[in-house]
Symmetry: C2
Subunit: 690 residues, 2 copies
């Protein structure tokens, strides 16, 4: 799955529970509530607790937006190349481009540290629903209730952190129907072991992205260290090189970022008519700006590569989702909504309690329409990383003065360590690139909001966007992590006294941000959260936990069958082979993005061309599942998820078993590549336990 | 193109001229009016007259519904395997299955005669519009005018046949805007030289049919004889084994069967709402009956194979066309129609002359709705070939007594030779199969029309369909060509006196057929023909011959570029390679219909796997173009058309350059296969002129 959830943006979207009872291979199930009934009925398989625990403890979350798993007892973790990409880029420079050329540390001594990568393993789950619900007292307004719930969550998190030292997140499931305290073992000393060339991992580029048949070796290997030594990972997935065959039941354990399967029809209409068009067009313009920068030369191209890659990916994903919001989808959703409301209407108590929720949401949606555009464009930090750091420091120094419960999300005590990890990251920053990005976003804000918008007036102060960007980026010292650290630690006084031009700009933008945030909370978020909770409660009353909650970038178990699907008039196969890689390359006369790396051409005769390369299964996944292991009934590693097919993009709103497919690299392809193409027999041996 | 036009059925559909000015790579152009302007503007290419004549005289029509071309000076003709299939089946029997196993005559002495194959070469074209139009006198009713035109056409044909001895057809183009006398050199001694196994020609079977990427060796070779010796074919296409590359301009010379690009919106609605659903459902039921018969054993399976193949093909094509009749298509067509009518309305004379045509058609369409179902089901000959022969003999003996001009289409003097060729064909007939087919069609007619329908009552006479079928098929002697010949030559007296139970049944059905035919002519055909002629004249007044006429199974020139297209979220490549064949097979674990013939497995290492296999071009083709040569600017053979992609199926109504693609076997693939897989170097040498 090349679409990694954009966590800061996702904050705007609320997670709601799904609309229908789960059937077939549908669902991203929490580990406390696996789909026992479905597995028994359809596959005659019953997961044991030990099996579930082993899989959970073998699964790893990449906190910058992906998944992975332990695949050796010596801390070896596998994920996607595109999840590793950011770290590979950060250890690269103009002389050594590990993204383009790949990387292999032949010995542990050669394994470099990933600059700012945090991995999490979910070690415990505790139901704290009654505590969070109990924080809301009779007579509270909706805003007061929202604040009370947030405060209680923050309190639980802090208590747990203090008590256990473990990262502790309260997770809202079923749109507030349940709250769980998830505790994570956290790893920050993660070292890079192996990555193929990006072209081998991402063969077919943007055209083939989100599609199948596919021919990608989208994997990379890290090793997790503690106290300077590889961690002894007792729970790891045993490698099965034979992999999965057509018809096999398989599981996917990973971290789907977000779904919106419970959105009401009014919300979906808003997505279709307002949110998606605005975002897609915005991203397309940003992509244009990135490409213009990239075209300046080899080094600018290298600097912008990761962002272009991510953004192309995002545009394609959003466009796919947008195109999927068709009449059929609305018909289905309208029917589901009507059915649920009819069930409620038949029960006077339910009707009184929950019946108004849909109208409340519809009203809040109208308010959201107006605020959304302002939120998008009244921001200095939508493109430039440096501006984003400045903005966060300005917010940070104000927030940490408040009691934890009153802080903005992202600035709670339990979140500060992760925030600082990013704020003070030593990862390189390229001023020319930042200047181009800030110029674009300021220009775009002025184009979209108009020159008379108060924010535009305040930020540009009568100057051209390029001039403002040039002044603040060339004048700022925030490229230095130590300067950022000093500023943040100096608190509000230091920030207010700063004459750093980027900090000055961020200070100017701050009141607008806070004002919009407040309006959004009062008129949209609080109303929607309350109404969605009502709908979720209504669903709970009817379906209980026979349904799964929307994705929340927390650990989930999906399941399905390795199988092809009807595609474009014919059948997509259950898998591809290395033959297909050579065919697709030759079909385009080896032209990019269908060009083979030289080693593939030189060593063609060494490869068994009928080795399975990628395969598809009906498991229900979405962005964030990137790097999730595909696991057999025996709990063995048989592949690694890296994408969904184009038909799966509507998975954000609905799962359709006939065509929705997760795409994985086959375990055999990884071994074949390591042994025959990359001269990495030691690594293949470690994976195969030889 | 696996969809071969069903010529008898096509008689019901009227050919009308296209709705829009040709742009881009659109159009199936007559050789008297090649797209000189388009070729000059887009490709800076001007076809010379000699070039056009050479291509025309190298092109061959397969009268059972396909195209081909001369590819050696010794009468070698190439067409598709699926065009040759019927003849291959006819020379096969329970012991030798050339469809399954392929065929290769190593010497000319071993070349068997195709049992009933007629090839035509278009040797001259003469504009006879003024004669046909002149036959209509002022004051004639529409029915009288229709009759007068038909009579004049028959007269022209007879005169030409008498004068030249050449097959002479008057062709209506631009829906009567022009009439042309086409004279054909006719070949009936055609011998079979080479065919690969059907599985190699039709790899991927029904799933891959009408789709791309594709991996088929869909070709076969015949040799044309005259006076017992191979014809010296002066005009033949020189073989270019290098073939065409991405971006190359290519031409397709062949015989597109029919298009309906000028249908009015009212007619398209009738197609969508009445005709397509009825036909698709009917064909699906017939397919079920064929499969039931096929499942009885190996020999029944062999007998039914060609029909199942054709019908699967037809169902997929019709379904594709039907699915393509979506809102976008109707929006486009409605706009075109409104534009044309607005142009007419601006000119009082045009308005008076042509303005009423659309309403006339809409009215006739309402009549057509009612008659269409009766025409479909009041027939004994929709499935059984034997019943069809009986029916045609009964019609034949009555028609030939009339003056030529008053006969039904298909029974004019100039058409009799071809008719007799089929009526008295020695091709085998399988009584058990015929009984199953007739049982199905009688049963289906009763199901669809109801037991009280007068035709059903007359035909079944109170018996079960299976009983009637059993009695007439087991009792008939018409399986013997000599019996059919004696009956036909005995005339009405012999037919009326016959007690052959199938002839008796055909006699019972005849009055119904004639009555429906008369109603259809009077209420639908005559009105539509006149109205469509008006619309065509109106278009002529506006566009002249800047547009091309609808397809009429006569020779046309199409052109386009070898290029991929956007497909299912990614790009379809311009070509496939042998690598892709092995990949697709391995992707499905070599399971049918993706299984490789043993020679492909045994000789894999001999093949250059990067050899192009199939390729696509934007040339505008449709069913009937099967077997058409793909020709370079230099007039050389670079490939052979065998299908269109799924996106091209709406080509019946509209050409969309972005996605409409013709699919061809690459010239290099044929040579590679003949030399490396089929041990046929002599044949490869003949093709390559070595």
């Amino acid at each position: 799955m090349n679409f990694r959830p954009y966590l800061p943006v996702l904050g705007l979207f609320l997670f709601v529970s799904l609309a229908v009872t789960a059937v077939a291979d549908e669902g991203m199930w929490t580990f406390d509530n696996p789909p026992v009934k479905q597995l028994k009925e359809k596959y005659n398989f019953t997961p044991r607790e030990q099996w579930l625990d082993h899989i959970r403890l073998s699964s790893v979350r990449f906190n910058d937006g992906g998944s992975g798993s332990f695949v050796s007892p010596n801390g070896l973790v596998i994920t996607n190349h595109h999840v590793a990409l950011g770290q590979l880029q950060k250890i690269s420079n103009a002389q050594r481009d590990y993204v383009r050329d790949g990387f292999y540390a032949k010995t542990q001594a050669e394994e470099p540290k990933a600059p700012d990568l945090e991995l999490n393993v979910l070690v415990s789950m505790e139901n704290v629903t009654s505590r969070v619900h109990g924080a809301v007292k009779p007579g509270m307004t909706e805003k007061q209730a929202l604040d009370a719930r947030k405060a209680e969550q923050a309190k639980i998190q802090k208590e747990s952190l203090d008590k256990t030292g473990l990262r502790s997140d309260v997770v809202s499931l079923y749109q507030g129907g349940e709250y769980w305290l998830y505790r994570y073992k956290k790893y920050t000393d993660v070292r890079i072991v192996f990555a193929p060339e990006q072209q081998a991992a991402f063969f077919g580029g943007d055209p083939d992205n989100f599609t199948f048949p596919r021919h990608d070796l989208d994997f990379a290997l890290f090793r997790v260290y503690e106290n300077g030594r590889p961690v002894q990972s007792k729970d790891y997935l045993k490698w099965n090189t034979k992999g999965a065959a057509e018809g096999d039941l398989v599981f996917v354990s990973g971290h789907p970022g977000s779904t919106e399967r419970g959105l009401t029809v009014a919300q979906l209409e808003n997505e279709r008519d307002v949110i998606y068009p605005l975002r897609i067009n915005r991203y397309k313009r940003e992509l244009q700006a990135l490409r213009a920068y990239s075209s300046r030369g080899a080094e600018p191209a290298r600097q912008a590569a990761d962002d272009i890659f991510s953004l192309e990916n995002t545009v394609k994903a959003f466009t796919g989702e947008y195109n999927g919001m068709d009449k059929a989808l609305f018909d289905k959703k309208s029917k589901e909504e009507a059915d649920l409301r009819a069930k409620l209407a038949a029960n006077p108590e339910w009707s009184r309690e929950y019946g108004k929720a849909w109208d409340d949401i519809a009203a809040a949606t109208r308010g959201q329409k107006e605020l959304f555009k302002l939120q998008q464009y009244r921001s200095i930090s939508t493109a430039s990383k440096l501006a984003s750091l400045a903005r966060q420091i300005v917010v940070y120094v104000a927030e940490i003065k408040k009691p934890d419960a009153q802080r903005l999300n992202g600035y709670h005590e339990s979140q500060l360590e992760e925030l600082k990890f990013y704020l003070f990251s030593p990862a390189p920053i390229y001023p020319e690139f930042e200047e181009a990005l800030l110029t674009f976003s300021l220009q775009d804000s002025r184009d979209q909001l108009g020159a008379d918008d108060p924010w535009v007036k305040a930020i540009l102060d009568g100057k051209a966007p390029a001039q403002v960007a040039s002044e603040v980026i060339r004048g700022t010292k925030l490229t230095d992590p130590a300067v950022r650290k000093a500023l943040a630690e100096g608190g509000e006084a230091a920030v207010n006294a700063s004459t750093d031009p980027l900090v000055v700009l961020a200070r100017k933008a701050d009141p607008f941000f806070r004002d919009l945030r407040k309006q959004y909370e009062e008129t949209v978020e609080s109303v929607m959260t309350a109404a969605e909770e009502k709908i979720a409660k209504a669903r709970f009353a009817i379906y209980g936990k026979l349904v799964y909650p929307d994705a929340t970038f927390t650990l989930r178990l999906a399941f399905g069958t390795v199988q092809g699907y009807p595609m474009n008039g014919t059948k997509a196969p259950p898998k591809t082979t290395f033959y297909g890689l050579y065919d697709r390359s030759a079909s385009f006369d080896n032209k990019p993005p269908f060009n083979l790396m030289p080693r593939f051409i030189q060593r063609k005769d060494k490869i068994n061309l009928s080795t399975p390369l990628d395969f598809v299964a009906s498991a229900d996944i979405i962005g964030g599942n990137s790097g999730s292991p595909v696991i057999s009934k025996n709990g063995e590693f048989v592949g690694i998820i890296f994408d969904g097919n184009i038909e799966s993009l509507t998975g954000n709103f609905v799962y359709l078993e006939e065509t929705n497919r997760a795409i994985a690299v086959h375990s055999a392809a990884i071994i074949e590549a390591l042994r025959k193409l990359y001269d990495a027999p030691a690594l293949a041996n470690e994976l195969e336990g030889k």
